[in-house]
Each structure stands twice: as C-alpha cells, then as structure tokens.
Amino acid sequence: MNGDGRPTLEVENLRVELAGSGVDIVDEVTFTVAEGEALGLVGESGSGKTTVGLAILGHCRRGARLAGGEVRIDGKNILARSPAELRGMRGRVVSYVPQDPTASLNPALRIETQLMETLTAHGYGSSAEERRARLGEMLAEVLLPSDRKFLRRYPHQLSGGQQQRVALSMAFACRPHVIVLDEPTTGLDVTTQAHVLETVRELCKSHGVAALYISHDLAVVAFVADRVAVMYAGRMVESGPTHQLFRAAAHPYSRKLVQAIPDISGRYALVGIPGRAPPPGHRPTGCFFAPRCAFAVEECRQTFPPVTQVSSSHDVRCWRAADVLAETVLERIRIEAAEREQRGEVSLLAARGIRASYADREVVFDVSLAVWPQECLALVGESGSGKTTFARCIAGLHRQYTGEVILQGRSLPPGAGNRDRESRRMVQYIFQSPYSSLNPRKTVGQIVAQPIRLFFDLEPREMRARVIEVLETVALSGTLIDRYPDQLSGGERQRVAIARGLAAEPSLLVCDEITSALDVSVQAAIVELLAALQREMGLGLLFVTHNLALIRSIAQEVAVMSEGRIVEFGTVEEVLESPRVPYTQKLLSDTPSLDTALAAAAG
C-alpha cells in the first residue's frame, strides 16, 4: 500500500473495443493489485487477458480502442495521459514482459548496450558509474553473470531462459511500481520455467511491485500469484485468493478450468470444456458462458449476472454461484491405473539401437524402445533431447538413422517412401502444430479423404460417408466436411489431424507434442479423446511430450529422454512416484503442480 492506503494498481470498468464497429473485446473489467502482490489473470486464448495486460500500459493493439473505464497507478488515471507522458511512464512506472523474449530484445545489439539503454532512457542514476553498478545488480537479481564476456553477447547467443531473464531484468531495471508479465514462461522448458518463476516471485516480493501475471497455465499461476482472476470472453467472471479460487471456485467455468489441468501428483481424469468461447461480436445475450455451462438456467440466458460477493475477497459473476458452491468442494475425479492386459509375444513396434543425426550432428544415441498393442508409451524430455527426432525416425519422416525399426516382427527401412503401403498405413504420425500440418487450401473432407484414397478402394459416395464417420470418431460434426482449416479453432484442427491419422486405420499412432500448441482446456479434451480411442480401437500410442503432468492421464509406461539417450524407463507410477535418476527427479520437482503449489501456499 502507498501512504494513503490505496492499492498500487486499480482497474475500473475497463472497456476495449474494435475501433470501427465498437464491438467490445473486453468490458467491465475491474480489479486491484496492492504493492508486493501478484494477481494471476487466467483464461483460454481469446479471453482478453493480453488486451487487459496491454491496457495497463495505456496501449492497445492496432484496430482496437481503449473505450472506457480507468486504469489508475498510484491513484492517477493513466488512460487520461498523453502519448508522450505514457512513453515516459512505460519502463519507469509500469513495465511489460512479453511471452516471447526475442520480441523485446534487439537482435543487433549487445546485452550490455540494451540494458544500459533502458537505464539511460529513463534517466536512472546520475553517472555512468552508478548505472554500471545498477546493471551488475540487475543481472545478479535474475541470476545471470555480469562479467564482460556475458555482457558482450548478442541475444541469439543466449538460451531461451537467459533471454527471458534478461527481459525480466530490463522490466525491473528502473524499479517500476507495476509490472505486467504476459505468459513469460510459455516457451520455456520446465526446469528453466521453474527458475524464471522463482525469480519473478522473489523480485516482486523484494521490490514491492504490484504484478499482473497472465497465463493459461493454472499450475504456474498457483505458484506465483496471491490472488487469481478468471477471464472468459472479455469479462472477468471470478476473482479471489488463489487457494480459495482453485479449491472452491464459485463459477462453473473456473471449475472446468481446474478439472482440465493435468497434475503429476495424482492420476486424474482430464475433463475438457465442450464448445468454444464466443468471439467479440458474437457473444450471446445473458451470461457468455451459458451455452457451455451445465448449470445454466433460463435466467442465465436472459441477463449477464452482476458481481456478487462469495466472501470478503472473493467475487463471482454467476447466477448459480450458490448452487455451484453447494455442489461439494471441487473434487477431481481420480482414476486408477487400469489392469494391464497380458502382453503377447510380439511387440507392436520395437526400435533397436536407433542412432539418428542431422548432417554431422548426432542427436539420438542408441535408443531402444517397444510399444505394445493397446498400450501407451510416453516419451518425455526437454526440448533438444532428441525425442521428436526419434519419433520421426519411427514414422519414416527422418531417414538419417541407423538401427532397426521393427513393426510386428518385420523390419522397416528408413524413410516412409521406402516402406510398403501396409506399414505406411499401420503407423500414423500426428504433428505438434495443427496450424502447419493441415493444408490451408484443402477442405477438411479432402484432408481426411487423403489416406482413405491412398490405402482403401472406395466409391466416391462411400468415401464421403467414411470421412463423416471418421470425423465423428474424433467428436467433430460431419458438417465440417466442407470447411477450410482456418475456419476451425486450434482444438478442432488437431482433431482433424487425428482424424486423418485414424482414417488410415492404423495400429500405432505417434503423437508428437500434439497438445503443446493448444489451450489447457482443449488439451484435456484431446487427451480424453486419445485415451478413449486407445481403449476402443485397441491402438498403440507413442506419446511424445515435455509435459510430465500429462502422462498420468494417458500413458502406462514412460521413457525419459535426455541428450539423446533414455535415462529412465518404467511404468508411469514407478517413474513419477519413485524416480531413480537425478535427471527425472529434477524434472519432476520443476514441473508445476497445482496440488503442490496450493499445499505449499496453505502450509
């Protein structure tokens, strides 16, 4: 608190709209953040989180307009300031850390130049000596060296984590009163993420900064934030203390979000949220969440609920909040490890002594793994561990390897082009990004029909029926058949990609980080779908991921990969509950867990 006892940051009835049409992007957003406090702002993509974050700097994206409300920092409304005044304030009074650190660092300037620039631009200190001393201090705060060698580097010579920490130190350089962190760890490995999060928390506390932490990852938010606000379709639907909000959410949407998070500490069923958030201009009358809400009644469809208090610091906008709360404490559905079926003699797919390289650089060393029918093997590792390269060797997408890939007892040559039709059909690969794996010039029908055309002889009419059938297996409507990929959401696109794989009626599905480009709620729905498919169709799965928390919900066995080698292998329970190798232990302890974060906060 300041001298007069007001919170450092106050946002009141903020409204941002599209400049031409006046359609609201966000509206009626009200919250406060006190000195030294961190508020987590969560929601699916498109919920308006970043729009709110930028508005706190008096900025909005092109085509948008700050249309109403107030953003007060230290009691002064910054939306009333002139552009020149705002420029002076940014960095000094309020600063911003973007998701992608490369966006905030100039690739042509040395680290030293950029950091000094921040200090001089805001007139920090009176002499070069003083600024240089502060520079060392800044880097020490984010646990980076400040020797000459480091300062002379260019941004591309730093790792992603180091870049993000440089960006953090720039944001904290002039000791701002308010800092906006927009998903600063999304692109980072868990280990790096853990370091950065620790740094953020320390800095906010020690500098007494009011922080707004924007993220869709609730486990991360639970770790850094004191309070959490949930946004949905441009409105703030609930806000309250972290523990209370995650353990006893009063809004059905918040509950759904919590149920969608995978957690390493327990085997939970992941529950996706059906439907998608309405975009600006297409929001219904009444509560925006009503169409997706199990609690919705007529009243919800008529009028948007007002803010009601659940407790002194816990607000919610829901007509049925009392009923939601009455429905017991938020219970997550635990699932038990399924009885393992008796394994046959021959594995579905075995890889023996795979060594793969790019040009002269070897990235996978002597990896041997087996996937059994109707089972899921998770391959876990950080970026650069070689897990994707290994998966691509299996699928025939990467040819430069030695060793043997054996499909049901038959050895396969490297490269899909050299394999026979039947083995190409049996192994299907799902790519990480559905934005790149679907041809934007083809309709959904054409995309899904491709494997059917190549592997089966079907009449055109049967073909269409089959495509619709496959779309329905991945819970997509057959009416999407004539749509183009850019008319679909990220989750829908990934379902189409899965449908293309399934259309070949494969025995093995290789899934390469297939949820990492998606929202948590969508990720849950996709994992739910895959688990069901695996059970019902008897598929074998090779599930490649960097997210340890996710494998509980889908895999039976897990292989941990580091620097091109398998460092640990075992059942999911063995590996997650009693990891033997320090690398796995480290990975586990760095993985943010909602349960652990909340337990730590409570204890």
Binding site: P274, G275, R424, A497, L529
Partner: protein, 305 residues
C-alpha cells in the same frame, strides 16, 4: 467433448468461406481492376469479334467505282479511317490484326508459365543438386534480354509462328520459375507436406495438389506481369518483321508498314495499333496490380468497411 456443440455464428465464416471468391471479390472491388478489365475486354473484344464488323477483307484493296484508291488516303466514305501504304482499309486491317498478337502472346505466356511452374516446384521440393542445376540453368536463359533471345532464335531458323511462341515462352519460363521456387520453398517446409509424404502420396500429387494451391497468388500476379511483357515483345517482333508476314494484318506489322503515313498526313494506320497495344498492356497490368493488392490485403480493410 464435442467442440462443435456450440454453433458458431455463420456470419463469422461467411467471409472466409471459399477463399478464392473472397480474393476475387477484393480484386474486383478496386477501381484499377475495373478499369483494367474494361480495357482488356474492349481490346480482346475488338480482336475476337472485330473481323465480323470489318467492311473489307484484311488483304483487300479499297476500290471506288472499280478504281483502286491511293495509298495513305485520308479518311473518306469509302475507307472510314483512310487507307494504308498499299491502299487497303486501315479500319478493316486494324479489326483483323489483333488476333495474332493476342493469341501468340497468350500462348507464349501459358507455355512459359507451365514450364516455369513445373521447374520451380521441382527445384523447391528437391533441393540439393537438382535445385542448383535447374535454377542455374534458368539463370543462363535469364542472362539474355528477352527480345534479343527471341530475335536470335527467329533470325536463325526463320519467322515461324510456333517458333515465336517457343522463343518467347522460353524466355518467360525462368522468370516464372524463380517466383515459383521462391514461394514454394517456404511451403515445402510445412508439416502438411511431411504428412503427405508419410502417407506415401506421389511426388506429382504433392507438387501440384499440396504445394501449388498454396502459391497461386504470387503466380497469378507473375503471370499477368509476364503476359503484359509478352504482348509488348510479340508486337515488337512483328514490328521488326519476325512475326506474321505481309500481306497478313497484324498490329505490330501495321505500325511498321504505315510509318511513312505519319509524314504523309494519314496517322491512323500507326495510331490505332499503337493505342491498342498500349491500352492492352496497361489493362493487363492494372488487373495484375489489383490482384496483387487484394492478395497482400491492402484492400481488405476498405472492403470490410
């Protein structure tokens, strides 16, 4: 579980449906495109159906009461726009003379574009040695100025029309190939190409059904630009006497034949074909420009408002 459960407002997608129609709509909405299309329709119309309205046959001399009238006669009742260097009707020859220029330049452009697209796609997809080989080969052809290359070929073999198409087509090819390769290199890296490979899709299908549809915009722009240039080159070649041979009617040839008419006070034999060729090239480049602007989205904002 089902994401489609919530119906998305159809209006949100109406604009996106059929990306091609949308792009053409954005193209058409611009004044420059409308002007270009008007010019092209007018001139192509003149060339295609003009002969139906021609008062004389193209090689027929104008006679008044059984008497041949003089070359470079001023416009009169007998010859609306006067006569040319051999006493033939300028208007009739103009109306007949557009077909050859249009047909030859269109054929040459199509021929060059088809070859160039195929070579550019193969180069982009194969990378490595074949890429280098093909593209350096293209560079060699590119080193000749377009007109000089055609002149050398036609002067060596003789003024055959198929040779004209071939020569101009070949000089068009490397330019189209460069644009194709440049656009396709980025598309080749996308995962949907990997997906098609892993399914065992044939190379031909990957090139023409996966990659090509993603680079149509720059190709349409390039093709319109090449057509514009080729019209000028074909007209220049026939002006120089390497195209249609006299006494055939041809715009390029007419300019050459009637040069003295400018001094003799009968400019129509030159002015008409010059204006036609000029306006035609302006028309095609305006259309190409309109499409290019629509493709990169300059006009999208205006269209939405």
């Amino acid at each position: 579980m089902s994401e489609q459960a919530v119906a998305v407002a159809p209006a949100a997608h109406a604009r996106q449906h059929r990306p091609w129609l949308l792009l053409l709509g954005d193209t058409w909405r611009q004044t420059r495109t409308k002007l270009g299309v008007t010019l092209v329709v007018l001139l192509v119309g003149t060339a295609v159906i003009g002969p139906l309205f021609a008062p004389f046959a193209p090689e027929e001399s104008v006679k008044i009461a059984g008497q041949f009238i003089l070359p470079f006669a001023a416009p009169s009742d007998a010859a609306t726009l006067g006569t040319d260097n051999l006493g033939r009707d300028v208007l009739s020859r103009f109306l007949w003379g557009g077909r050859s220029v249009l047909a030859l330049s269109a054929l040459a452009t199509v021929f060059g574009a088809v070859l160039g697209i195929a070579i550019g796609l193969v180069a982009a997809y194969s990378r490595g040695f074949l890429d280098d080989l093909l593209m350096r080969g293209m560079d060699v052809i590119l080193a000749f100025p377009q007109l000089v290359f055609a002149l050398v070929v036609v002067a060596t073999v003789g003024p055959k029309l198929w040779l004209l198409v071939l020569a101009v087509g070949i000089t068009t090819m490397p330019r189209v190939a460069r644009v194709t390769r440049g656009a396709a290199v980025e598309v080749v890296e996308r995962d949907f190409v990997r997906a098609a490979e892993s399914l065992g899709e044939s190379k031909r299908k990957i090139l023409f059904f996966e990659i090509l549809p993603n680079i149509t915009s720059p190709l349409v722009v390039e093709a319109s630009l090449r057509l514009t240039f080729n019209i000028a080159v074909i007209a220049a070649l026939s002006f120089l006497g390497f195209g249609l041979q006299p006494p055939a009617a041809d715009w390029g040839l007419m300019i050459n034949e009637n040069r003295q008419g400018l001094l003799a006070g009968q400019p129509w034999g030159v002015l008409l074909p010059v204006a036609a060729i000029g306006l035609l090239t302006i028309g095609t480049s305006l259309i190409g420009d309109g499409f290019a602007r629509a493709a990169i989205g300059i006009q999208r904002g205006k269209a939405a408002a």
